[in-house]
Every structure is written in structure tokens, then in C-alpha cells.
Symmetry: C2
Subunit: 257 residues, 2 copies
């Protein structure tokens, strides 16, 4: 089983939590890939450099200066420090962006109706699975930031959840694949205010029920939608859970019915 | 023949020169590796972030904050934008630091007698040639920044000339290797003020003669010393020349006598 683990920004921002997570990740058996989000460092760096944050419909616009900052922070500092830390744990990591080896080519999002700037959408059908497989077969662990490229010379900023999900869908054609979203909650919660209320397994039926009654709402909806999409396209299992429980079970599982 | 090409900061700082160089580099036949320096962007970013530049004996001290900046700039923005540009030219590049795949492990320089901070010295004997060969054999072109790691969890800032030279020495055990230093002069000059005075080929004898009379001095001396060292350790040929002449010949050649 290939495990594709996505780790979010909250864990990356906390040095002790990140160290614990990387230690747990390095203990995961078999083939594995890490996809990391960005954390607050990019926002802090934009602020320090007086690059204004533009939001449209609640999403950040990536202009040329912001693209430089996110490339520096995600594909530079965060990627390389994770790799250095994983090596010290005996995990032979390779920090990559989607541009490297054309691993994850993306398409710049249309500026109509909303121009998000240098933002790229990822397509599982174009992932360079041959390259990723060759790394895995050498005992290497790919570590991906969500910086991609348009194959015409420009870098693009992509969504890390989508990168993880696209990688999982693409790799599931080669080998049984599990996609694990690690974040700061214990899973999909029945009651958003009760961290012990994680739903162990969600079927489409249950999902519709919890959405209808409002128990599942907000940012959890696109996460679960993308989990169901991954399952529909061949991923064996998606787990949504707390970063600290990576090897302890728990969380919410979505399986191929 | 494997060509290992080092490109310096002056070319990287100039968008048009860099585009021309990358176009020339993508046209180099056969196996190739690019090693890039940093340029002034790291210094500019340090200034913008009010990180003081500390110099000791004319060399920059890399404290924790400076390490973050050089990792972001060299291994993030410069590395990934070079890769994106090379892809658009049909050159399948992979941007790596020395930490990735443990390609170039380094040793933190002793703080005695001078503490340069997070600075790492590179040893050709520890280069992961197996990893680099596997990339080359897949038709991929490794693009290295001079960010390395100590294999104990910390990134280090290394000298790009030394990285290029260590890679060349290590790879020359597997395949005939040429090391090409591209910079802003036409080669090793007889007269530093006359850019048409490049010495076509330098032997040890000639080198000693030009050093004695002062024609070769300053920053050129460590460059040529490292070229002779590379030759002594198995590299077939070292060329020192102008970036714009990468495929046009010229420059100064140092050969295995």
C-alpha cells in the first residue's frame, strides 16, 4: 500500500508538532509520499515585505510578488527543512515542487470570472507517475510542496489538498493507494465543538445526512468531496484525522463501497 | 561526456542573460547537470527583512535567519524558476538541494578559529552518485543549488563552486566528466582589464608563471586551484569561460596533462 500523507499549515507552523509529526511519518511502513501545505510563514513574509494581501471571494490572489514569496517559503525553506529533518530520522526524502521532473503539471486558472493570478489547477491525468515511481523504487520518499508549473515557463501556486488528491488518484493506477489528510481535528466531527465526536467511517448516505442537518459544514465539505472523488477515481481509502494520530488509528475513513 | 555547468550570480540577477543562458544550456547535448549560485536576491531579501549582514574575513556569516533566507531564495525561487524555464525549453529538469536524496551531504565548518555559522563544506567522496545517475538515466537534468545539509537535521549554506567541483569529481568515477564554470569574463585573462586576453589553455607551469607576475590574482586563484584539484581527482577537463559562450567554445581550458 502506498500512503500519501497531506500535512496542513497548522502543524508546520509549530516546531514541536512538526518534529513529532515527521518522526511519526518516518515510521510509516512501505512506500510513502508527503504533501505539505504552507502555514503562516508566507503571510508573515508578505507582510514583512509590504506585499499587500488581496482576497477575492475569500481566496488569496497570487500576483507575481506573492508567487515569489510562496515559491521561496513552500518550495524552499519548508520543503528543504522537512527533508533535512526526515534524513536525520533515517527517512530518505527528496523535496520536490510540481515543476521538478514535471511531476505535477498544472493549468493556470482562467482569469474569467475571477482572476486569482498565478494559481494553477492540477489534473491527475497529467501527473508524472513514472518519475514518482522511480523515486519510490529507489527507497526515496518524495516530499511535495504545492508549487506547480504551467509547462510554459511559469510557476503556479496550487492547493495542497488537490495536489495530494491528484497524486493519490494518479498513483492508484500503479499500486493500491491510501490518502491521509492530517490536520488539527480528530476527523470529521458529528459536533464541530466536540473533538471526541469523530465519525469513524463516512458513506455517501451518512455524508448527505450530516450535511443536511448542518453537522458537516464549511471547509470540511470540499475536503470530503475531494475524498469521495479520490475514491471514485481509484484510491482505496481516504483517512481524515489528527496529525498526532498518524500511526495510532482513529480519524474518519472513507472507503470504496 | 557528462557536462557539469556552474552558473554564477551575475547571470542569475539579469533576466535576459539568464533566459539566454538557459536556452544555451538546454541545447547542450548528452548528460548534463546545472549548479547555480545565488545572485543578489538573498542580500536584497536580508536587507528588506532587516537581517544584518555579518562579514568575517570578507566572507558572509550564515546565522539562523540568513540560512532561512538563502534556503528560500536559492533552493526555492531561483531553483524552481530555473526548472520551470528549462521545461519550457524542452529540458526536463529537477531542482534539488544537497539535502534531497542526500545528494550532497556536507559537514558544518568548525566554529574555530572563525565561526561562519551554518556553513557546510562538501566532500566529493560522500556525493550520492547513484541517485544522480538514476536521474540522468531517466533523461532528467539535475539542477543544484548550493544548499546542503549536515545529515543531523540542519540545512547548511555551501559554496556553489565547491558543490560543482565535488559533483564533477564524484561523477567522474562513473563517466568521463567535464566541469564548466560560467561567469562574466571570457576566461582566465592575461590582463584582467582586457577581456580579449583569455588564456586558451592553462598548464600548472603557466599558472605558476602568471601567478608570480600578478596577472592571475584575487578571486581567480581559488577557482583555478579548484579546477586543478578536480583534474587531479579524475575530471577530464575544466573550462572557465563567459556564460554567453557556453556552446561557442572559447574560455580557458584545464586538462588532465
Amino acid at each position: 500500500m502506498l500512503n500519501i500523507v497531506k500535512i496542513g499549515g497548522n502543524v508546520i507552523d509549530d516546531e514541536a508538532q512538526l518534529a513529532q509529526f515527521l518522526s511519526d511519518f518516518s515510521a510509516v511502513h512501505g512506500f510513502k509520499v508527503l504533501v505539505h501545505g504552507g502555514g503562516k510563514l508566507a503571510t508573515k513574509l508578505c507582510d514583512a515585505l509590504h506585499i499587500p494581501t488581496q482576497m477575492l471571494d475569500g481566496r488569496r490572489v497570487t500576483d507575481a510578488e506573492t508567487l515569489k514569496v510562496v515559491s521561496m517559503v513552500y518550495a524552499g525553506w519548508i520543503s528543504k527543512s522537512i527533508v533535512a529533518q526526515l534524513y536525520a530520522l533515517g527517512c530518505h526524502a527528496v523535496g520536490l515542487s510540481g515543476a521538478d521532473g514535471n511531476a505535477i503539471p498544472a493549468t493556470r486558472r482562467s482569469p474569467v470570472p475571477v482572476d486569482y493570478g498565478f494559481v494553477g489547477d492540477v489534473n491527475p491525468g497529467r501527473v508524472n507517475t513514472k518519475f514518482i515511481r522511480s523515486l519510490l523504487e529507489q527507497g526515496l520518499v518524495p516530499v511535495f510542496s504545492a508549487i506547480t508549473h504551467d509547462a510554459h515557463g511559469s510557476l503556479l501556486n496550487s492547493n495542497a489538498d488537490s495536489v495530494a488528491s491528484s497524486l493519490a488518484i494518479a498513483m492508484s493506477e500503479l499500486t493500491p493507494t491510501r490518502l491521509i489528510f492530517c490536520f488539527e481535528k480528530n476527523g470529521v466531527l458529528r459536533n464541530p465543538n466536540d473533538d471526541t465526536s469523530a465519525i469513524p467511517e463516512i458513506t455517501r448516505e451518512l455524508y448527505e445526512k450530516y450535511k443536511a442537518c448542518g453537522a458537516i459544514s464549511g471547509g470540511m465539505i470540499p475536503k470530503i468531496d475531494s475524498a469521495f472523488k479520490a475514491i471514485a477515481f481509484g484510491v482505496q481509502e481516504v483517512v481524515i484525522g489528527h496529525a498526532k494520530n498518524l500511526n495510532k488509528g482513529g480519524g474518519t475513513t472513507i472507503r470504496n463501497a
